[in-house]
């Protein structure tokens, strides 16, 4: 993200030969960063699935305590935001500033909506005493294993949420500048943001079944 700044300077930065080299370097850089992110989240998924394999029965039970409806709605919200980002990038590529900004704002709203739903869900979890270290109480068997599930649930969704928050911060910044016409010539920044946002969406695509659906 730190690099967005230099990308924003429309003229080719001093160390690049031409705009194409710069564009390729930027997108490839973002993909590399995403590969890192895959393993960052991947470590969590790996740990989760190993515990899930060992404590299948408890984890199925705990999974039932999550609000699948909220999770599903949030999935729709995020998928929609992916669509709007894709459309914003498309508009940017076609040099349609107003359309681009509109889709970016839509993405922003959807992102906030996701966080809002997530907040509500956390609140409900809290009311049901499902928050480890704060008020965890488990009626059923194996409270230790149940707590393990919820620790992972919270860490995974919080790390994901943090990525959402960062994304929202960036899109606000980009939208303001886009309105002023900063990306009329070179919409690479929007494109890179799009890659990031889609990635965050993909993480959720895996989180949703992993946490909410494996309850049979």
């Amino acid at each position: 993200m730190a690099e967005l700044h230099s990308i924003m300077a429309t003229p080719v930065a001093h160390h690049f030969e031409d705009a194409e080299q710069q564009h390729e370097a930027n997108t490839l850089g973002m993909w590399t960063f995403l590969a890192t992110e895959v393993l960052f989240f991947g470590a969590l998924f790996a740990a989760f699935y190993i515990y899930r394999a060992s404590y299948a029965s408890t984890f199925k039970e705990t999974s039932r305590h999550l609000y699948m409806s909220i999770g599903a709605v949030n999935t729709v919200v995020l998928l929609t935001s992916s669509l709007t980002v894709a459309l914003a990038v498309h508009a940017g590529e076609h040099r349609q500033r107003r359309r681009m900004v509109r889709f970016m704002l839509a993405t922003l709203v959807l992102g906030l909506l996701f966080l809002g739903f997530k907040g509500v869900e956390y609140f409900l979890d809290y009311r049901e005493h499902l928050v480890p270290a704060f008020n965890f109480a488990w009626e059923g068997d194996n409270p230790g294993q149940a707590q393990l599930f919820f620790i992972f649930y919270f860490i995974m969704t919080l790390v994901h949420g943090l990525h959402m928050i960062i994304g929202i911060g960036v899109i606000i910044y980009l939208a303001v500048r886009a309105r002023r016409g900063h990306y009329d010539q070179d919409p690479t920044a929007i494109e890179l943001f799009g890659l990031y946002w889609h990635f965050v969406d993909i993480v959720w695509i895996f989180l949703f079944p992993t946490l909410y659906l494996l309850k049979q």
């Binding site: 060992s54 404590y55 029965s57 408890t58 068997d141 194996n142 294993q145």
Partner: protein, 362 residues
Amino acid sequence: MQGLPFLPDSASTIAGRVDSLFLVLVLLALVFAVPVAGLIIYFAVKYRRGTDVDRTNAPNENLKLETTWIVIPLILSMGVFGWGARLYFDMFTVPKDGMDIYVLGRQWMWEFKYPTGQRELNVLHVPVGRDVRLTMISEDVIHSFYVPAFRVKHDVLPGRYTTAWFQATKPGTYHLFCAEYCGTEHSGMIGSVVAMAPKDYQTWLDQNRTTSASVIAENTSPSAQAVAPQTMAQAGAQTFQHLGCYVCHRPDGEGAGPSLVNVYGKPVQLINGEIVLADTNYIRDSVIDPNAQIVAGYDPIMPTYAEQISEDELLKLVEYIKSLGNGTEAPPEQNNPTSGLSQGGGSSDNQGSSTNGGSGQP
């Protein structure tokens, strides 16, 4: 092999085999290191700047040479791997008919428990010429049981039994180290293994025939104090009583749970169709986390005992359930209430012995 000054004492059946493999590796290392170092020095001197030697037709590549020095090390190292794998299997295949000793590791001391009831700190007495099986568990962090003279090492984990075995070949007193870093007094978590001729060992056993009530009382609940048990199995039988296991687990199988007679070491059919071996960890898990694996034909009604039972009691239960393996009660042993606790070891300050760092301790 004994003659080589840099090798440590070799006093177990596998020690010599490990040493041979080690020496072969040394040889192999020399076979590669000496030519490499030799050639470097030779070239560096012969072709140093200013010397008048033939430098024409210096090669820059040679596929044959490259293949050679890929294939030869590969073959050699696969050979070493194979040899190592075999020996490793032998080192980790616990012999069926050894004698059992239970090992409890805690910050920063070793406790050894004999099925016959003896209990020692930081000193382990074993007979020469018999396979000794160690069933080990930690009450706090990871430790590692290491006897250099036996070339035996295995981590001692919290929450799970690990096993190691050895057969001593030479009477003597050997170092026992904790090899996994475990906190402040890690280097004080040492002791010794005393290997004795079978006759001496028997004498030692008899002299230290357990077991005073006071020692047992440390780790068992007050109700157990009334009758001082002698063997671990008998102590386990008591725990079995006062934790109420007997209510459901009756020898005739008439209770709510399966009979535990003849369970140990046999395959168990689980409700989800799996078949697992009823080993020490299975029994431990059955008590700590009963619903993880449900025996086919029974309801998951057994409560967990994770909060109420110490590792020490668990070991006794395991030994008790093992003793039911042949379908009879554990053979009664003679009660001989002399001191069962022989203190020892190199560590001077074992403050650890009074505090219990154990996770499951009541």
